[in-house]
């Protein structure tokens, strides 16, 4: 290591460009901002690449830098900070026991997901869409693993509750199982 910093950086860090940009696009929901933040992430990663421990998870390290850059960006934009009240989610709506609705459309899923408070949305995104392990999410977001589990649990319960509400309002829902069998989902 260290013989060619650039080659190592390309191999370990730049290899995750596509995943990082995909997450950035979903988190920022705006291409220009996402690209700016990914660029800043890579510049900072390059400057501190000496501190990256080889053999540890480079993807989680990059995500950690990205979410730090993202929260800085949010602060600078004077938008709402990355904190929220847990009272936002009324306890009765959060039940692990409740059945997942079986008749939902992709649009309803998109809407329900977009409605999630950001910390829950990011946890669900990293786990269910990007397939990160709990440990990786904890490293990426710089939070304890217990907080990851709690955010995931609440995020998923809220998503299900939101979907149940949405699907009961529309008559055009399609069976999840049917989608799956037809190859659409």
């Amino acid at each position: 290591m260290g013989t060619n910093r650039k080659d190592d950086f390309d191999r370990f860090a730049f290899a995750h460009f596509r995943e990082l940009r995909r997450v950035a696009l979903r988190v920022c929901q705006e291409r220009e901002t996402a690209d700016d933040l990914v660029q800043e992430t890579y510049l900072r990663a390059w400057r501190s690449f000496d501190k990256f421990e080889r053999g540890t998870n480079c993807r989680a390290w990059l995500f950690r830098i990205f979410f730090y850059v993202h929260s800085e960006y949010r602060r600078n934009q004077a938008r709402q900070p990355l904190t929220f009240s847990l009272h936002y989610v009324k306890e009765p709506t959060l039940s692990a026991q409740a059945n997942t609705p079986s008749e939902v459309t992709l649009e309803e899923i998109r809407l329900a997901f977009a409605e999630l408070p950001e910390p829950f949305r990011i946890a669900v995104l990293l786990s269910d869409v990007e397939g990160l392990r709990y440990r990786e999410i904890a490293d990426a977001l710089d939070i304890p693993i217990g907080t990851v589990m709690s955010r995931l649990s609440r995020g998923r319960q809220l998503l299900r509750a939101q979907l149940a509400t949405l699907s009961s309002k529309t008559g055009e829902s399609v069976s999840l199982e049917k989608h799956k069998k037809s190859g659409r989902i």
Binding site: R18, Y42, V104, V129
Partner: protein
């Protein structure tokens, strides 16, 4: 199978699907699912929902913008790699500080024996026969670094736009473009603006020609708070990494010409560019019509 069993299993269902449970706990969930059709169906729905979520959030094919973004980041990284690293900066700062201290002590010990040249815009500028000193002052080093960060980031096909440049410069400096004209031997003016680097603020003019980029920086020195007496005016040239920086100081302004040209060529170009700049800056100084720079 009791209701509380189902409640417990549903709490564990997501971590089970994430494969994050201990083996024993995972086995107990599996055992329950094999016996409970309701929980088994719920498990299937949750799996289907995850799959649907991936589909719902799938991004449209944007390989074109992805490639653009990738290239942009690679370019930014290349520029970053060309910048001197922080440690190198610290070492250079320490060396510069030592040199200044050594020069100060020598001056204090032996006094100044050189004869000052009285300042006049029309007087020929004294170009030293050989480039002086090995170590570079912080002000010139910052000019070189700003050249790397700013001037070299302009794409090869970047073209001059008089209105844009006039807008970018402070009103007092806008006529400098006309004072220069667009062409200087093989070099053409492509851009002029105000930029900051390391807490310094520069009026920055960028020239291109023969595959080289040349920066002219004008920095106003207000550190004393009062106008300083003009000092002997010479063009000093020094090297920093692979760049040459030729500079002259009026006492209130520091003018630098930075490029990666060979030493003699940079000095010759500076000999053309500096008098124009100097004359312009002196008029501003005398008229007292400078704005911020």
């Amino acid at each position: 199978m009791g209701e509380s069993d189902c409640q417990n299993i549903r709490e564990l269902l997501d971590p089970y699907l994430d494969n994050e449970l201990l083996i024993e706990t995972s086995q107990s969930v599996l055992d329950h699912l094999s016996l409970c059709p309701d929980c088994s169906a719920e498990s299937e729905r949750r799996i289907a929902l995850r799959s649907s979520l991936k589909t719902a959030l799938a991004l449209a094919d944007d390989s074109e913008s992805e490639n653009l973004s990738r290239r942009r980041i690679e370019t930014a990284l290349d520029q970053e790699r060309r910048r001197p690293r922080k440690m190198a900066k610290i070492v250079w700062s320490a060396l510069a500080a030592s040199l200044i201290l050594a020069l100060g002590l020598t001056y204090w010990r032996f006094g100044n024996t050189s004869k000052p040249v009285s300042p006049s815009a029309n007087m020929p500028i004294n170009i030293p026969a050989s480039p002086s000193p090995v170590l570079i002052a912080a002000v010139d080093r910052d000019a070189v670094e700003n050249h790397q960060v700013c001037a070299l980031s302009y794409p090869p096909d970047f073209s001059f736009d008089r209105q844009r440049v006039a807008r970018n410069l402070t009103p007092g400096y806008a006529p400098l473009v006309d004072a220069f004209g667009r062409n200087h031997t093989a070099y053409k003016l492509i851009e002029g603006h105000i930029c900051s680097y390391e807490k310094r603020q520069y009026t920055h003019l960028i020239f291109r020609g023969n595959g080289h980029t040349v920066s002219v920086f004008i920095e106003r020195d207000d550190s004393s708070g009062k106008p300083k007496p003009s000092r002997p005016r010479e063009i000093d040239q020094a090297s920093f990494t692979s760049y040459q920086v030729a500079s002259v100081d009026t006492g209130r302004h520091h003018i630098s010409v930075v490029s990666d040209l060979p030493s003699g060529e940079n000095l010759a170009l500076a000999k053309q560019l500096v008098p124009v700049t100097l004359s312009f800056v002196q008029k501003l100084e005398h008229a007292g019509s400078e704005s911020q720079l």
